[in-house]
């Protein structure tokens, strides 16, 4: 009887710990978006994109999940609850995109065309184009939306764009093959794919204050929603490093094979990580280190979780 009760308790606990809602996984190689049931990992739908979608941004009103299809020169607007296609809008080479915290600007990085476009969200018109060499890939905003920082993957630099004056303030070398960018504690962190960690950059003038070891091929970095952990995916080493956001010291490292790329956080604390070279999404329980894998399409890149399913 005790065993039965214990088993029942475990089952109930497991069910409570399970994440609900849907996960949107952008399959760059398959030109599609997989929608997974977060509780089972089953693929519910697959939405066709046009050519090569990579990253996403949620519109400020939360009503549209906007996916950039770089080779298709198209923005794909999806209903974030159902995945229904709302519209497709022409846009030149939208590789990476992000809304400013105040919801006024949409910045679109054209990695192939070496350009950074700033749009006015109220009218969705182009305010200004910044030709930036080369390969603008990832971005981070200052919390007051006055600046956006863009990594230039091809030239080992970081660019700072003043969104008030609409001008490039500085372009500074920060590390080899910079990819992910994050604003943290008044500093800009840059993941250097050609090195083994992060650069901590002064947002005022772009000089590198220090370098932090995370693992070979640091590619992307994300702060957990509770702000307690900074996760860095190391592409070459095949690991995800969990860092103390205050000290930037590594607390723990998880082995994630298959080219770990983007991360999205589930409400239960799990990390959903795309594995670019394995056609999978890894769901990592950071407490236990247990990994669960779900099958998706070719070259999964961006990932968005709508945990409420609404």
């Amino acid at each position: 009887m005790t065993r039965i009760l214990a088993a029942a308790f475990l089952l109930i606990s497991a069910a409570a710990a399970q994440a609900h809602g849907v996960a949107f996984v952008i399959n760059s190689g398959s030109a599609s978006v997989s929608i997974l049931d977060m509780s089972t990992g089953a693929e519910l739908r697959r939405i066709p994109a046009l050519r090569e979608p990579h990253h996403w941004a949620l519109s400020p009103d939360g009503k549209s999940l906007i996916i950039g299809d770089s080779a298709g020169n198209q923005l794909l607007f999806l209903d974030p609850a159902t995945g229904d296609v709302q519209r497709r809008v022409p846009c030149a080479d939208p590789y990476q995109l992000g809304f400013s915290p105040n919801g006024k600007f949409l910045v679109v990085n054209g990695l192939a065309r070496n350009q950074v476009d700033v749009y006015d969200v109220a009218t969705y018109t182009l305010i200004k184009r910044f030709p930036l060499s080369s390969m603008p890939s990832h971005m981070a905003y200052a919390p007051d939306s006055s600046m956006v920082y863009v990594s230039l993957q091809g030239t080992d630099k970081l660019a700072a764009i003043d969104l008030i004056r609409m001008a490039v303030v500085w372009v500074q070398p920060t590390g080899k093959t910079p990819a992910g960018v994050l604003w943290l504690n008044g500093r800009v962190l840059v993941a250097n794919m050609g090195e083994d960690g992060l650069s901590v950059v002064d947002p005022v003038d772009g000089h590198v204050e220090r370098r932090v070891h995370t693992g070979r091929g640091a590619h992307q970095l994300f702060l957990s929603p509770d702000g307690h952990t900074l996760y860095v995916n190391n592409r070459v080493e095949g690991t995800t490093a969990a860092l103390d956001p205050a000290t930037l010291e590594i607390r723990r490292t998880y082995a994630i094979s298959g080219g770990p790329d983007d991360i999205s956080f589930a409400p239960n604390g799990d990390l959903w990580i795309t594995q670019r070279f394995a056609e999978k999404v890894a769901v990592l329980d950071p407490r236990t280190g247990v990994l669960t894998h779900y099958q998706v399409g070719r070259s999964p890149h961006g990932i968005f979780l709508n945990a409420s399913g609404e």
Binding site: R216, G217, R235, V236, G259, F277, E279, S299
Partner: protein
């Protein structure tokens, strides 16, 4: 559904290419390397698939038997170079990136490059009919590219390398001058801009098409029958294109996969069966030389063709001088 080719390419990328790129400070090439790995994996499968099917066919029903087939070896090299080696990398780096940049530039100037899925939205998410439509359009465009390569003197000077082989086998499909390959890629780029060809979106189907193109060069008595010959290009049909009487401007059967365009534009010849192949006007270096010798001979012929006709005392470069074998 798991894609074993993609997973293999991913494994190569993760365990071989990325560590190498990291070692040599070239991580910005990681996406390109992944694309190349995928093309190369499909290339290896293409080569083995073609070998497994075409070699027994050539042994079983050969059109010609040669006491010495050393001339075929260089075609094997062409195939490996073209399907696995450096050429896909160059094509991927140069032309794919160029296409993305150009199409983005056009989008930016108010011209959204059309796509078949744009014209026919029901095609989105339906890869097989989409791909078949792309095949028909691309094959049509390739028919004209190929036909023009026989018409213009300078172009034929390059393309004649492909026709010079007297011992034509399934390996001969990729036997091309580098400049001819580049022109073909540029042609593809322009067509791609017009109809939005999806890069690497249908690799399995591309694999089947490439196999059909190799098969059409096989040294095998294979016909698809009266109806089949009019639906898909067979070794019998394409061999007539490589016949010694069909070199240069007077050729026929230009199609690569579908014979429809030859039938439509009056260049189809279903009558010639299993003719001898080669270009009687080609220099021996172009026929039996090493890879480098053939490329150099092709370049010289190309340079010669650029000289105005009035200055030259030769016949038209595309014209055929009948020598040797005249089995046709």
């Amino acid at each position: 559904m798991i894609d074993p080719f993609d997973l293999t390419a991913g494994w190569i990328e993760e365990h071989a290419l990325i560590p190498l790129l990291y070692r040599f400070d070239m991580m910005e090439w990681e996406d390109v390397a992944y694309g190349w790995a995928l093309v190369a994996v499909y290339g290896v499968v293409q080569v083995f698939l073609t070998l497994a099917i075409c070699l027994p066919l050539e042994r079983w029903r050969p059109v010609e038997r040669w006491p010495d087939n050393r001339a075929v070896a260089v075609d094997v090299f062409y195939t490996l170079l073209s399907r696995i080696g450096i050429l896909p990398l160059v094509t991927f780096v140069l032309f794919y990136k160029l296409q993305v940049m150009l199409s983005g530039w056009l989008t930016d100037h108010g011209y959204v490059p059309p796509t078949l899925e744009g014209f026919f939205p029901f095609l989105l998410g339906r890869p097989v009919p989409t791909f078949l439509l792309y095949v028909i359009i691309l094959d049509f465009s390739d028919y004209w590219r190929h036909r023009f390569s026989h018409v213009f003197r300078w172009w034929w000077a390059l393309h004649s390398l492909h026709h010079a082989q007297r011992q034509m086998t399934f390996w001969s499909d990729d036997r091309n001058h580098l400049l001819d390959d580049i022109i073909a890629s540029l042609w593809f780029l322009v067509v791609g801009l017009l109809i939005g060809v999806p890069p690497l979106q249908f690799p399995v189907l591309v694999l089947v098409l490439r196999f059909l193109e190799s098969l059409s060069h096989a040294n095998a008595r294979v016909s698809f029958g009266w109806l089949g010959e009019r639906l898909l290009i067979s070794p019998r049909f394409h061999r007539a294109h490589h016949g010694i009487l069909a070199a240069g401007e007077r050729s026929c059967n230009y199609g690569a996969v579908l014979p429809w365009w030859d039938m439509m534009f009056g260049t189809a010849d279903f009558g010639r069966a299993y003719v001898e192949t080669g270009d009687p006007s080609a220099s021996e270096a172009l026929v039996t030389g090493s890879y480098i010798a053939q490329q150099w001979a092709g370049l010289k012929r190309f340079a010669g063709a650029l000289v105005p006709r009035s200055v030259r005392s030769h016949d038209r470069p595309g014209a055929v001088r009948l020598v040797g074998r005249t089995r046709e």
